[in-house]
């Protein structure tokens, strides 16, 4: 993939994450902070489909943005064809693993499986 497309995704995910995390924080402020972290309230978030979907989107946006950022830092740190290939594929793998693990948590909580 061309670097400009990757960077467009990088900037886009940053903007999207800022917007959705702001919504997420505002939702915490709709009640007392300690109440928002109460067990039943946290579970209620996952049972409410639009909110669970928003959490899933935040997870994807932050994973893509974060791991691409890490990839860029590592590419600037050291150079070499093998190293760069390892970093590129490693970042994609790490991104996929984190999204899969986070999605599993969201799904399990949403379906009431503990």
């Amino acid at each position: 993939m061309r670097e400009s497309i990757i960077m467009k995704i990088h900037y886009g995910t940053a903007l999207g994450a800022v917007a959705l995390v702001a919504v997420h924080i505002l939702m915490r402020m709709s009640q007392k902070f300690s109440d928002s972290l109460a067990y039943q309230n946290v579970l209620a978030n996952y049972h409410f489909l639009p909110y669970a979907l928003m959490l899933e989107v935040i997870l994807v946006l932050l994973s893509v943005h974060g791991f691409n950022g890490l990839r860029v830092i590592l590419l600037e740190l050291k150079q070499g064809a093998t190293y760069e290939r390892a970093i590129n594929y490693g970042s994609i793998a790490a991104m996929a693993i984190l999204i899969a693990y986070g999605s599993r948590t969201i799904l399990m909580a949403g379906m009431g499986i503990s």
Binding site: S4, E76, L77
Partner: protein, 258 residues
Amino acid sequence: MATVTVPKEEKTAVVTSPESTQKTVTLRIARINPPESTETKFEEFKVPVQKWTTVLESILYVKQNLDHSIAVRYSCRQASCGSCGMKINGKPRLACYTKISELESNVITIEPMNNFPIIRDLAVNFEQLFSTHKKMKPFIINEESEVNSDTKEFIQTPQDLEKFLQFSYCIKCGLCNSACPTMATDTSFIGPQGLAQAYRYTADNRDKGKKDRLKIVDQSHGIWRCHFAGSCSNVCPKGVDPAMAIQLLRGYLLGFGK
């Protein structure tokens, strides 16, 4: 007939003792000879200076009178050729364009430029800079030609010229690359000089090679690795603003530029 006698011009040479009146500064020159050792040693030389003495002149004084073995590259002595770039008191500058008096210090530390392989002492290898510059296709790409008799000349308005004029003042001295923090760690980075030149030709309305050049700079060690520190623009002796060129070139890639 009247005879007019023109009085002879009197020339008076004021002779002063250099030791008693002339200011001296200490030059700390980095000595390094990579094939033998990668260790940098500093040698100190006391040189007499005038208000107008440049760093290059003082280095040449050392070469002529104190130690002829110092390796230094220079040519035009008027900031046109870009040969005498070096780190003077920690900042990349042209030695011929930097007066000792403007440094406001009695000790002048002179080192080779950062981010370049050192040949010896103050002379660095420009091979990567020139090859990167060449990769940017620093020429007008156009199927039509002004030299053909049946084609019209390429029309360019002052506004068209303004878009790239300052970037054409680049003398390839390498000071921008030396000051770039990204180049310090990413040796494959194109660098501000190459990117500014890519913009210079891409922004030229006579040029048709925009697609080619954007493809060259749009790679993992290309334009996106610039962190916009701005140190390249800060050190340019010709007033070129490579940091701005990079942002404008990014605009093309993001679809903001025409």
